[in-house]
Symmetry: C2
Subunit: 152 residues, 2 copies
Amino acid sequence: MEKAIQDFYPDEFAHCYGCGHKNEHGHRIKSFLEGDETVCHYKPEPFYTGGFPDKMYGGLIASLIDCHGAATASAARVISEGFKIGEKPAPRFVTASLKVDYLKPTPMDATLELRGKAVEIKDRKIVVHVTLSAKGIVTAKGEVILVQLPEK
Amino acid sequence: MEKAIQDFYPDEFAHCYGCGHKNEHGHRIKSFLEGDETVCHYKPEPFYTGGFPDKMYGGLIASLIDCHGAATASAARVISEGFKIGEKPAPRFVTASLKVDYLKPTPMDATLELRGKAVEIKDRKIVVHVTLSAKGIVTAKGEVILVQLPEK
């Protein structure tokens, strides 16, 4: 099975509830490079509802955009340095700022698709845009500003 | 025990994983009016870590700011109409936009304090500012733009 970007996070930075392979309670989302974008598919547990029982929890949507954004930044850094995913440990980013626009209610009975793209790559800072879709319709979009942690 | 703003959400809108009293799996945060602010205290489970095991998960921080923001908007509407909290069902808001600035890492070994304030009250739209503190230090701040659902 193809390895995800998060599979290459160093163990000491891999405790994130959303995306860390060391967190046994968490979502453990998996993001993959696809052309110049990243993609992640995720089917939430049925209790992650919003105020309405058939709509998704906005906090989960923000969480997924944040974690997928961090993976997108990590992949963008690896590629920009001339490596392929997995050729070196995935650099780890922390979020400085997260903005999510909720465009439509997201239905519960769907597998979500997140797509990310790095739109600005600087020395330590990367800006990522993410869309979240359900049943082929974009229901939320996000901008994540991330800062790279020093590599060991 | 004093009732929280969320205790007055109508049952049909109270399924939110973050703050709904009808969601038995969720955080069920409780927000209270205190002067012209709202306050919520929350101690996360130990597995809600970020990339580092001693720092908090950014997705949880965004989630708490979102839900506390919705409660703040609800309280602001009730008060602006001349009622006290609990004198009528709490009006329910959905998030149009959420922006979180992560100012410092949030330690895991702390009870979080969220403080919210409505800074703009319009016909259906309310803008709320929220701070999140741990050990007396503001570690994140958010702006939430919310839209009121029609009351039944």
